[in-house]
């Protein structure tokens, strides 16, 4: 088994994590000196088979397990040690936490499947009610007949009763595991569900262990009067080297692994400081690889010419960060755009409101709304009245940066103020016809303005402007209006 690649990553770990002894049952020679971390220290003799320890498990299966769990051997070993042998008791509840895509579900479910331990894997996202959770658990552990014993709208009491009933007929010879993913959603279900599940071993008097997986730390789960504290296990995030190792496993067989590794290096160089989620990075790697290989296919560059390949792919990745990463365009659109020779066509993003075409007066209404929201009312005279005369400087002093309206958010304004500003901003004379008012309503429907206050207030409806500065600058440019001159915060 290759120890070389793991050594680099494991050196980072050794200082932080407990020493776990790994060895295989077959070879007695595998027992290293007392306390050594076999399989991770540099001076491991070739005779030692490093694998995960599990009694009664053939070596080949342990090896395949190790291959399926790259860079997570330490956590898998700790979990196996806590789980113990199937006939023994395991701690009643274990809470595994860590960032997204750090392998929590993958490790525990792979272990349970490969070692063929009885388990029920339930995702709390699917369980809108507690009854679905109970049904799925009983189904997985005991079969459809026991799940049918549950009444309609079962409570935790019914679940425990049915479990005890079925368990009396099928007593546990091995520890049963109930794995609950996205466990943070349990907090929003009935209040007794989480404390009850943590103590399930005691309540049903059976060899069962509940494993909770979540992104959120345990401190935010604890109920008010306390509960049975589970064993907390942390799955650390992958280091950059480990991400490289795992992402390189996806390599395309038609190119050399070194080429793929250099591609992943470039990808990580662009995205690592923004995102460390393994799933996102895999998705981005898969989407952009064909573009990376374009020069190779066209014959413009050789595999060794990394500089040219880098120059080709880097702007593309930067553009990916603004579009695909933000899910502004779908991966299909992105793929099509890569096929397209002309790169000048800008991608239509989802939230690119700049593509919204508004009529002429609507644009000015929107500009007026923005000015009404972000300028304090007392400054209107200075901006919009043609001959305002001298204004005292003190009343106009620039306030502290903190209270800049652009940081605090838009303020509501009455309709009259909007119209007053509108008439002063529009260069031609406009009659207050119904079409102007209906344009205001359509702006509200487009969610460019929001209506504040009660729907019943027909006399003086109040509005707020809901667009960003970039958007309004783009709009004002199209009507040749210099809005910055009229904004209080930018004097």
């Amino acid at each position: 088994m290759e120890l070389r690649t793991t050594n680099i990553c494991m050196k980072n770990f050794k200082s932080r994590l407990p020493d776990v002894t790994f060895y295989s049952r077959e070879s007695e020679a595998a027992c290293g000196p007392r306390g050594s971390v076999v399989g991770f220290s540099g001076s491991v003799s070739e005779k030692m088979l490093s694998g995960l320890h599990y009694p009664g498990c053939p070596e080949a299966r342990l090896r395949s397990l190790r291959e399926k769990l790259p860079c997570r051997e330490v956590q898998a070993g700790t979990l196996l040690a806590i789980m113990g042998e199937p006939e023994q008791y395991c701690y009643p509840s274990i809470f595994i936490y860590g960032h997204r895509a750090t392998g929590k579900s993958h490790v525990i479910l792979t272990l349970l499947k490969e070692l063929e331990l009885p388990h029920a894997a339930v995702s709390c996202v699917e369980c809108v009610s507690a009854g679905l959770l109970f049904e799925q658990t009983l189904l997985a552990l005991f079969g459809a007949d026991s799940a049918a014993l549950l009444p309609r709208l079962p409570s935790l009491s019914d679940f425990v009763r049915v479990y005890r009933q079925v368990c009396a007929q099928q007593p546990a010879k091995q520890t049963r595991y109930i794995v609950l993913e996205r466990a943070e959603l349990l907090r929003d279900m009935e209040a007794n569900l989480l404390p009850g599940l943590l103590r399930l071993q005691e309540l049903v008097d059976d060899n069962v262990a509940v494993i909770l997986l979540s992104e959120i730390v345990w401190d935010k789960f604890r109920p008010n009067t306390g509960c049975f504290e589970p064993l907390l296990l942390h799955f650390p995030d992958y280091t950059k080297a480990e991400l490289l190792q795992i992402l390189s496993l996806d390599s395309n067989p038609s190119y050399t692994p070194e080429l793929y590794s250099s591609y992943i290096n470039i990808l990580l160089g662009v995205f690592y400081s923004v995102c460390r989620d393994l799933r996102e990075l895999r998705h981005l790697a898969a989407l952009n690889f064909s573009k990376f290989c374009e020069p190779l296919e066209k014959g413009e560059a050789k595999e060794g010419n990394t500089h040219k390949l880098w120059r080709n792919i880097e702007p593309h990745l930067k553009r990916a960060m603004q579009t695909v990463y933000l899910r502004e365009v779908s991966s299909v659109q992105w793929g099509q755009q890569q096929m397209d020779e002309k790169e000048a066509t800008a991608l239509r993003g989802l939230s690119a409101l700049a593509h919204v075409e508004l009529p002429y007066y609507s644009k000015f209404l929107l500009i007026a709304a923005y000015l009404a929201s972000y300028n304090p009312a007392r400054t209107d005279r200075r901006f919009f009245v043609k001959h305002h005369g001298k204004m005292k400087k003190t009343s106009f002093l620039k306030k502290h940066e903190k209270t800049s309206n652009h940081l605090l958010g838009p303020k509501p304004f009455p309709l009259d103020r909007l119209l007053a500003i509108f008439y002063s901003v529009v260069d031609s004379r406009v009659a207050p016809t119904a079409s102007v008012f209906s344009q205001i309503s359509s702006l509200v429907t487009l969610q460019l303005l929001t209506q504040v206050g009660h729907d019943d207030q027909l006399d003086t409806p109040k509005y707020k402007c809901a667009v960003s500065l970039d958007f309004i600058l783009a709009i004002s440019r199209t009507v040749s209006f210099d809005i910055v001159r009229y904004l209080y915060d930018f004097i």
């Binding site: 060895y23 027992c31 007392r34 076999v38 113990g84 005691e202 942390h234 970039d470």
Partner: protein, 426 residues
């Protein structure tokens, strides 16, 4: 030879895991002699002499309330007459969330479903009296004694009208049938939760399990919890093991670790957790416990979760957290919104940073939302307002020292980010 070593290791693990994971009852409760005697006496009076009683066992989580009760029941059931006569009903506040469910459970545990059949009762009291009548022995002179054990007693006090509690305690006061109502709860103020009529029927007998263990007793507990019993098949090994455990107790490093645990939490449950984590490191190649095992177990059990999560954030997210920390420092903890954080971040990028790229606003919003999903920041008003998401007010759920410590441990943190965090005025 190797297979015998494996078998021995298996037996050690089995015995100790039953103790730590399954909460196997000890032979006698440790350090709770007077409480044990009191409870035993009370239950015996109900079981043997037919006297009705009610008692509350009060103590913090993990203090040993259930353990105490089960030891008392175990000793009592050794008497033949008690074993034949006494019925037990175990209810839990977590399971029986309603009085109706509780009544069904009582019926089921007394095996009276057939007797009740399809009868409809006018009230809870009628139902309960019927059940107790049905327990009368053949000559109809006296009823069998019943123990009602209510775990999470404080949750029963939240039921409507506290009907179950009222009726049970009413039965215990009247001379209808000998019942013992034993409540276990972690709330010290449980009596405040009871209604006046319920409280007046309660005998106000409370057994408190407030641990007053000294550190020497804690060390003794550590030794006895790890000790292998006398009936272990390989007596030589068990003697070596017990000797090793005693030697561990004398070691200074182990004593320091145990002192730290003793200072934060004295109860047996947390001790069991620590011992289990140490036990997971015992195996055939490492057959006895060492001080380093205890050290690693302690480190695992007292790891700071939030610091672990902060370790895995991307650089952009870390910069946002530092920006929020600065806002908290300058404006003394007032809530902030995304625009303010972005403003701080932009100031950093323009003035002080060389290594951080000027990311687009939507990318920064995505990082901000990731922090929101991790619950490191929370909206002030529960987030139901019709406010644009950039202007929604939030609070940071970390404090100054946590952020600075996380920064120390952050892998390959860019130096300009570190400088920015340390500088006083952002």
């Amino acid at each position: 030879l190797s297979s015998s070593k494996w078998k021995r290791d298996t037996i050690v693990q089995r015995i100790l895991r039953e103790r730590f994971c399954h909460q196997r009852l000890p032979d006698r409760p440790v350090g709770l002699e007077s409480q044990y005697k009191h409870l035993l006496e009370l239950l015996r009076r109900t079981a043997v002499h037919g006297e009705s009683n009610s008692v509350l066992i009060v103590g913090p989580r993990g203090a040993g309330k259930t353990m105490l009760l089960r030891c008392a029941l175990r000793e009592l059931l050794e008497l033949q007459e008690v074993k034949q006569n006494v019925l037990q009903v175990h209810l839990s506040g977590l399971l029986q969330t309603d009085d109706r469910i509780a009544l069904k459970e009582i019926t089921r545990q007394l095996h009276l479903e057939n007797v009740v059949g399809d009868k409809v009762f006018g009230s809870f009291a009628e139902n309960l009296v019927f059940l107790l009548e049905a327990l009368k022995r053949g000559d109809k002179s006296s009823s069998r004694p019943v123990f009602f054990i209510l775990e999470e007693f404080d949750l029963f006090a939240h039921h409507k009208n506290q009907t179950l509690l009222y009726n049970l305690l009413d039965v215990s006061q009247s001379a209808q049938a000998p019942v013992a109502v034993v409540g276990l709860t972690c709330r010290l103020d449980v009596l405040e939760l009871l209604e006046k009529r319920v409280k007046s029927r309660f005998s106000h007998r409370q057994i408190h399990l407030l641990s007053c263990m000294s550190f020497c007793q804690y060390l003794d507990a550590f030794r006895s919890e790890l000790a292998l019993p006398d009936d272990f098949p390989d007596s030589k090994f068990s003697q070596e093991w017990n000797l090793n455990v005693s030697e561990l107790c004398e070691e200074k490093s182990v004593q320091e670790i145990l002192q730290k645990h003793f200072n934060s939490c004295k109860d047996f449950r947390s001790l069991h957790l620590l011992l289990l984590l140490a036990l997971t490191r015992v195996s055939v190649s490492n057959p006895t416990l060492r001080a380093v095992d205890i050290l690693e177990a302690s480190r695992m059990s007292s790891a700071d979760s939030k610091a672990n999560i902060l370790h895995g954030l991307s650089v952009l997210e870390l910069c946002l957290i530092i920006a929020m920390k600065h806002l908290n420092d300058i404006y003394e903890g007032e809530p902030f919104n995304f625009q303010m954080v972005h403003n701080e971040f932009k100031k950093f990028i323009q003035r002080k940073s060389h290594s951080i790229h000027n990311f687009e606003k939507p990318v920064v919003i995505k990082a901000f939302e990731h922090l929101l999903q991790l619950e490191l920041i929370r909206p002030v008003d529960g987030g139901v307002c019709k406010v644009q998401r950039e202007y929604q007010l939030m609070r940071l759920m970390l404090d100054h020292t946590q952020v600075m410590e996380a920064l120390q441990r952050y892998p390959q943190c860019p130096t300009d980010v570190k400088q920015w965090a340390i500088s006083a005025f952002g």
